[in-house]
Amino acid sequence: MRPVKLRYFAWVRERVGNDEEEIELPDGVADVAGLMTWLAGRDEGYAAAFAEPDVIRAALDQTHVDHDAPLAGAREVAFFPPMTGG
């Protein structure tokens, strides 16, 4: 178990009901996809946020990553919908 900061943006943030939190990364949660599955099981809000994980984008330490990216070493993990700036 090690501490990780989680950050949520846009409708992921709204559904989770929080913009950031510190968690202890559970053993067995090795990559981004695994973390989303684990988060979806926490409560209804998280379940709604991560109901369609394929749509969610992730960043490790403020860099875009794919869902199979290992969490090893990451201090900040962010989840958000596809970007719509510009």
Partner: protein, 154 residues
């Protein structure tokens, strides 16, 4: 070519496109082409009262810097500015500014389009609609056309 650093900012305040453009050419005689792109908030036929821009502080600046570095590697640029606003923006107001300077127009045009295509699809900003009837509307959906535009550069 003179060394230069991209000018990248994420800010709530409006920007002055004219001033930002002049900065890239001031005091030099080797720039032949200057392209300025301004993205503005539309009212969608009178429906919208405002757009609200949420962003990921820190990553937004870092990601724009990564996109700018790619543009500078790909085209012989002499200057590059990218400014993205955050917070509530009313219809008619500017949201984003990209300025590129080069000796020739092809590089300046292509780099500006490249920057905008990747700002749209890679920079961590999200738009939420605020409607004129007072309702807080939906988050704007990502457009497939924007992904297609970004894909053409790979």
């Amino acid at each position: 070519m003179k060394p230069w650093n991209p000018n990248i900012r994420v800010q709530a305040e409006p920007f002055d496109a004219a001033h930002e453009s002049q900065r890239l050419t001031a005091g030099r005689n080797d720039v032949g082409a200057l392209v300025t792109f301004t993205g503005l908030c539309r009212d969608e036929g009178g429906r919208l009262a405002a757009l609200e821009l949420e962003h990921y502080p820190g990553m937004a600046e870092a990601e724009i810097a990564r996109i700018a570095a790619q543009a500078a590697e790909r085209w012989p640029l002499m200057g590059l500015t990218a400014i993205h606003r955050t917070g509530k923006i009313a219809p008619g107001e500017p949201i984003v500014l990209v300025v590129t300077a080069s000796a020739h127009r092809k590089a300046a045009f292509e780099a500006a389009e490249f920057l905008m295509d990747f700002l749209k699809t890679k920079a961590p900003f999200w738009k939420k609609e605020h409607h004129k009837d007072g309702a807080s509307g939906d988050w704007v959906d990502a457009r497939d056309a924007d992904d297609d535009a970004a894909d053409r550069w790979s």
